[in-house]
């Protein structure tokens, strides 16, 4: 059977979640491998959330926030950016490929970009195989 990855996507309430919502309203197609978790801000994603997701069965984790400069809380996404460097670096320490994490900025109107980004992630993870393997 083909490998169907499980991707956890942390979306911020103000931009990327709205984009995902819009994609749904517009009946745009995107892979069913995506599990969305809504948070108020991408800056809320503690590195532990990401590692926990991977250690409990997720094959990839995405953090999607507002474009830089457009954060509802002024600089939450800058924090997410700072942290992502560390997360990428630490993934290997925990025995995961760096490709299992992805950070992107999506505004509330960019439904097409949301679809493009998550589809790209699903394809990459399909090639990579399961995280536990």
């Amino acid at each position: 059977m083909d490998f169907e990855p499980k991707i956890i996507v942390f979306c911020c309430n103000w931009c990327s979640y709205a984009a995902a919502d819009l994609a749904g309203i517009n009946r745009m197609q995107y892979p069913h491998n995506v599990w969305i978790i809504r948070l108020m801000c991408s800056g809320m994603v503690h590195p532990e959330f990401i590692m926990d997701a991977l250690s409990q069965g997720a094959d990839g984790v995405m953090v999607l926030g507002c474009h830089l400069g457009e954060c509802h809380y002024r600089d939450g996404n800058y924090r997410a950016l700072d942290r992502s460097d560390m997360v990428v670096e630490l993934l290997e320490d925990f025995g995961y490929e760096q490709e299992r994490f992805h950070l992107a900025w999506i505004s509330s109107q960019e439904a097409d970009k949301f679809v493009e980004v998550v589809s790209g992630m699903v394809n990459r993870i399909k090639k990579l195989g399961p995280a536990g393997g």
């Binding site: 503690h46 590692m51 560390m86 290997e92 320490d93 925990f94 025995g95 490929e97 490709e99």
Partner: protein, 313 residues
């Protein structure tokens, strides 16, 4: 007659058992009056297969309190642990190996099969040796903490655990009250002087001694992290000092390496330490061999073999 108790060691070094013996003068009433030991390989001769070794199934007697030390590394450990769970009403995981994997779980960070093969091919080993397979328990795929395999009722970490806390735990159980165990971090119990931010942007290796005046107590010494040494006090559960006094390693003027495991049961020492360093303006990339921050808590899937980088297209 005391409350029946059984002790077992799995993949352990027996340091926990020595810590138990280090309870000191209270040990005598503890093992002769408070507790009635029915099975404990270090101290007494109850056997798995009958006293004459004729049995075929591994048996441990019924006991109210069960104490297991060590992680679960092989099939025999698993059998013994399951038997202990079956026979003991209250099962305690004692020591960091049993609670978080401990040092032996460092093996989880690498390819076990390749490592074992290499061990039987060292410079001093006769050529042609193979990994032993006859009448020895085969290894599991990785090293597990006890609670990954059976339900554990109480945990007391530490490498080794503090003797006073072991005594407190056991006496509390017998008296039917909740034990008083520390819940703070090593830092919270450390008297070293903190002045604010670290003076350096990097952490250094422990190849020079820390700065202190030997005539002064630890409270006169500046925080080791602030002195620029990697000290895991912030992300490590306290208790090595028995709840009060100076943390053990700090009293030897040596930085903490996290032997009590994370402060919260499910904490991640590596992640928390890196987060802590970064938020204090210290370059987390200056830590040599970061993964060994998980040297005491590598079970629960925390340490895994390194993945090869996928070649960029």
């Amino acid at each position: 007659m005391g409350v029946t108790a059984a002790m077992e060691w799995l993949g352990s070094c027996s340091g926990c058992e020595i810590a138990f013996l280090n309870i000191g003068e209270d040990l005598v009433p503890l093992i002769t009056e408070t507790l009635d030991l029915v099975h404990a390989p270090l101290l007494m001769d109850h056997k798995y297969f009958g006293q004459c070794g004729e049995g075929v199934t591994l048996e441990i007697p019924d006991a109210v309190i069960g104490i297991v030390t060590g992680g679960v590394n092989n099939r025999e450990h698993l059998t013994v642990l399951r038997q202990m769970r079956k026979k003991c009403r209250l099962l305690i995981a004692l020591g960091t190996c049993a609670t978080h994997g401990g040092i032996p779980a460092l093996m989880n960070g690498q390819d076990q099969q390749a490592s074992w093969q290499a061990i039987f091919k060292t410079v001093s080993t006769d050529p042609g040796a193979e990994i032993p397979e006859v009448e020895v328990p085969p290894p599991l795929d990785r090293v597990y903490a006890c609670d990954e395999k059976v339900k554990i009722d109480m945990q007391l970490p530490g490498c080794p655990p503090n003797p006073e806390l072991i005594a407190e735990l056991l006496v509390a159980i017998v008296e039917g009250r909740s034990p008083v165990l520390p819940g703070k971090s090593v830092c919270d119990t450390c008297p070293a002087r903190r002045e604010g931010r670290s003076v350096v942007g990097k952490v250094k290796r422990f190849i020079e001694n820390v700065e202190f005046d030997p005539g002064e107590p630890v409270s006169g010494m500046r925080c080791l992290l602030e002195q620029g040494f990697m000290c895991m006090g912030p992300v490590t559960a306290g208790g090595c000092n028995g709840g009060e006094g100076v943390p053990a390693c700090i009293s030897a003027r040596v930085p903490c390496r996290g032997c009590f495991g994370p402060v919260r049961k499910n904490g991640n020492q590596l992640l928390d330490m890196m987060n802590g360093l970064a938020s204090n303006g210290i370059d987390f990339k200056s830590v040599v061999d970061r993964r060994s921050i998980l040297r005491f808590s590598g079970a629960h899937g925390r340490l895994r073999p390194l993945k090869k980088r996928v070649a960029k297209e």
